[in-house]
Amino acid sequence: MYTRRFSIAVPIFLSMYVLQEAIISQFRLPGGGFSLLLIFALTWAVMSEPEVAAVIGFAAGFLMDLSQSAAGPFGQWTLIMLLAGYAISYIGYGDDNVHANAIGIVFFVVVANLLIEIAYVVTSALLGVSSGSFVQIVITLVGMSVWALLVSPIMLPVFTRLHATVFDSRSVI
């Protein structure tokens, strides 16, 4: 069962990474744009068990660290995403108001997206990586949250379908 999940999930993650780096990064969107991989990972994390969400966060964070635009040390995104994945799932898992409700998922994804970016700024400051002026950071945080709010409802059906393909109990059938 794990082999099947792994073999399907890996190409999906890699596809999201390639889409982000080769397509979405081509556009210089106002307000900092959005990270498809981040929204994807958070959506999956909301819908998964905490330990699975932690692995999802770890994988997404690892890919984000591989990105050429990652300014911090390798592993910074991995650590943040791992903890965020676990936390978001721990809070929301088992609550049907969250993971069985589209509005709940979008709300969790947008809030988590904002908190993750704040965590990134804070840890960057601790590690000595400059993130820009306060005003610029606030603009980027607000811009990214707005983009996440716009993109996550559009992508939600695709992401949930992919989640169902990987994690549904088809092996039982």
Binding site: R28, F58, G75, G132, S133
Partner: protein
Amino acid sequence: MRNGGRARLLLVILIVTSLFLITLDLRGVKVIDGFRQGTQTIMTPFQRAGNVVLTPVKNFFSDVTHLGRTRKQIEKLEAENANLKQKLINRKNADAQLKQLKNILDLAGSAGYKIVNSKVISHGSSQSFSQTLTIDSGSNAGITKNMTVLSQSGIAGVVKDVYPNSSLIQLATDPGFRIGARIAGTQQIGILSGRGTGSASLQLLDNSTTVKVGDVLLSRGSIANRPFVPGVPLGVVTSVDNSAGAVAQTAIIRYYTNFSALGVVAVVIGRSASDPGDSLVPVKPRVTPIPTVTIFVTPSPSPTK
């Protein structure tokens, strides 16, 4: 209970792995750099393909956002030649890049820089609050880390990472970007820092020197020209902070480069032995005087009927 224990163990293993990666990177272990280099090498063809496919889409959105400018341009083209209009619209992107390239060559030629011209194939995501872009030339073209990158108007950034067929450029707008600057005409020096926007902040090093609005800044140059060659136009002073308690003056600078329209850049891989000095200071636009029309009226001796 058993499941809870396994979950905790998994979480601990993943956290330790993350911290292990951070430690390795901060200690400068080459394997970690290899990860990023390998990934970028793999991603370069995808980014090139994405750039080719998305250029018409980007042009469309650019036209929509700059509607007034585009309309004026189209009107001008229509007036010139109806047949050429269609060709020019189709080739607008190529022409814009050609213009940028010509200006870059003029700039580099004036200063005696040896350059490698490159096309921008990707803009870095802002998720990490960094401002970067990727160009389609790398170590195979003679580019190495810490080389100056020029736009058609002046500084664009510095080479941050190099891969065989692509390079990552840290833009001059990046909050982590620092460059030694001097004011053209004088030898006053300071440190210019990116602010994440199209402007930068200048911190003078000497409290006895002054800077004023309109002053032009040039790069000071680094030892062995790495990372910065001297004499590159940086920008113009737009405001000066004269706070009484400040150790030295600070100022806000507007870069000459339009970072949102970078299509072609040049990486300086060598330069002539002589310092270009102030020769690259952009010429201020000359105001053409409007001719005055004088009409002489002589009153007639008798009123007309």
